[in-house]
Amino acid sequence: MLILTAFIIAALVVVAQIAGQRRAATLAGDEPQSLHSRPIYHGLKSALWTGLVGFSILIVASVVSRQLIDTQLRASLPTDVQGYADIKKDRLISDAKAVGDGDIVSAPLDEGYKTARDALAQDYLGLKTLREWGISIGTVLASLAALFLTYRGIHRESRARNSSERIIRGGLFVSAGIAILTTIGILFSLLGETIKFFSNVPFYKFLFGTHWSPLSGVFEGVVDENTVGAIPLFAGTFMITGIAMLVAVPIGLMAAVYLSDYASPRVRAWAKPLLEILAGIPTVVYGFFAAITVAPLIRGSGEALGLSVASESALAAGFVMGIMIIPFISSLSDDVINAVPQSLRDGSYGLGATKSETITKVVLPAALPGIVSAVLLGISRAVGETMIVVMAAGQGANLTWNPLEAVTTVTVQIVALITGDTEADTAAGPAFALGFTLLCITLILNMFALRIVQKYRMRYE
């Protein structure tokens, strides 16, 4: 129904464009110059207004009316269920809606619940019909009105181009604002659950606790504050990230040095695309590679040496993650190494320094801030990386220094909590708290990296 309405509005937009254009052309007659704006702009203005009015009312009304229905349903709960706990009320309402929508519903709790639910479903159906018809008719009428008014407003002197350009500029601004909206959305969605979580759990127990098994101590939908210590996750994340950086930084950095200062153009021409391919491989593929190829290999060779290696060892996940980050480090370092002015290199060569001396004593120190920032960004990538660890690292929290054991990470636990079978409301708390922590870590790393790069730029320009 509402989708149909959207299509009707779209059709009206087309009509407005054509009608407006026609009318302006007719007005102009044989003297196109007598119009302030060309006919196409008269059409555009009409079309933009029609669409703007129609779609914005449609979207706002859809969202708002849904909330209204919820409020209304809650208010009209039968008296005999007024005593239900909030969770149960929520479930009753969502079940009633599901019945109304004809979706699959879980079995009712008891007879009273069922009658209440079915009665509520009736209410809901009524409201739903009202909502859909109301919104549809309302928006279409409003669009028609906009079409009509703009059509009537077409005359030779009207500055249709200026007005439509103003709308377009507004649209551009709104588009740029979506970035901000996304950030706000992320912050709010994470903060909402996180704050709720920390109202039950003191934050130091979360940040410094060493026992993580959040769903084992759940009581009436509230987690036990003693089982949500995230230190093992931080430690696991840290270890895997560390292994990844041990692989990625030397290889990535040396590759960048070689490609920018040693390699012939021919070598560069094929080596760079190869690195780009490495960068373009989806992480789920790396995860598969880690789980199916690398982990068994590491396990096998460890056993040959008489070491006991977990099949989901931190080493395997970290190693593959390192491979994933190599191109990241190398391309960022390549940029900063290339940005070191040739004059510095020339100065060093002029004193009779060899290439490697020039690089290690002049180029790399000059590029150091950029390289540090590349490494920070790499760390931030590794910390937030999900699929490799979900597929190749462990599930159980394990506080250890041994990279041959299985450890778990922040991202793995988020995925496990959200995709697990637990009641969504219970799992959301720790998951969103972890997500928020993750966001903070990556943002701080990113800010640092950007800050360093900015300072560095200033020195050379």
């Binding site: 044989d30 196109p32 110059q33 119009l35 302030h36 500055r159 200026n162």
Partner: protein, 275 residues
């Protein structure tokens, strides 16, 4: 209510227009124009009047504000966020800063040719047809074709490009590109053409062609040209304005400015002592 204010406004504009016409039949009138880039003042108190169907050249050492003044006339300076223009400029008795004036319309009336030829990376035809198209100057394709032909002929380019109108304008030589830009400027049927050092990137032969062109165009247009070549100023212009450090130092008939300048700064400049 509304009607009254509207009438009042019209009345006001008419009065102003009358006052303006009292200042004779000048095409472009500038009164006390100050221009600031941020805190830096680039022009101060520039006042002068350009006559219709004449070529006015603006001369002066680099950085004295010639281009800045030129860009005030078609409000190109609006596109520089930090730039602030004060004072008044009138064209044909109309204040170009009047709120009801549409800057786009102004720029259609006041064409501009830039220092570096900047044809659109499109076909020669499209380069010229673009202006008429966006302003809706022609009814149909044949009219547009004709307009393109006329403009190319006016700009003296027709013979060279008539067989390759669909080729990109960027493929022409520098001089040809600049003439294409002139053709593009006159295609919107302006009254005024502003040229900012149009020949500085060209060789002498191409320069000569453009100067010739200016002579021809003068019959129909008012032209204002910035040039670094004193010789060129003397060859093409009827009047000359000498700018120095953001001030209009001297303005008068070209002959007079070059023969016996009243200001000593002018004299030093034309004799090559400053600049």
């Amino acid at each position: 209510m509304n009607v009254v204010t509207e009438q009042e406004q019209i009345a006001n504009t008419m009065i102003q227009a009358k006052q303006q016409s009292a200042e004779t039949q000048y095409k472009i009138v500038s009164k006390n124009v100050d221009v600031f880039y941020g805190n830096k003042q680039a022009l101060s108190g520039v006042t002068f009047n350009a006559h219709a169907n004449e070529v006015t050249s603006l001369i002066g050492p680099s950085g004295c504000g010639k281009s800045t003044f030129l860009r005030c006339v078609n409000r190109m300076n609006d596109t520089i966020p930090i730039c602030r223009v004060e004072g008044e400029i009138w064209i044909d008795g109309q204040d170009i800063h009047a709120p009801e004036l549409d800057v786009v319309e102004l720029r259609a009336r006041v064409g501009m040719v830039f220092q570096k030829p900047n044809p659109f990376p499109k076909s020669i035809y499209e380069n010229i047809a673009y202006g008429p198209r966006i302003h809706g100057l022609t009814k149909d394709k044949s009219e547009l074709d004709e307009l393109v032909t006329v403009c190319l002929k006016r700009a003296g380019l027709w013979g060279e490009v008539k067989d390759r109108l669909e080729e990109p304008g960027t493929g022409l030589s520098g001089g040809q590109q600049q003439r294409l830009c002139i053709a593009r400027a006159i295609a919107t049927q302006p009254d005024v053409i502003l040229m900012d050092e149009p020949c500085s990137a060209l060789d002498p032969i191409a320069t000569a062609r453009i100067e010739e062109l200016m002579h021809e165009l003068r019959e129909n247009y008012t032209i204002m040209i910035v040039t670094h070549s004193m010789a060129q100023a003397q060859r093409v212009s009827q009047r000359t304005a000498f700018f120095h450090l953001g001030e209009l130092v001297e303005y008068g008939e070209t002959e007079q400015v070059f023969r016996n300048p009243t200001d000593e700064r002018t004299e030093s400049y034309i004799s090559g002592r400053i600049g």
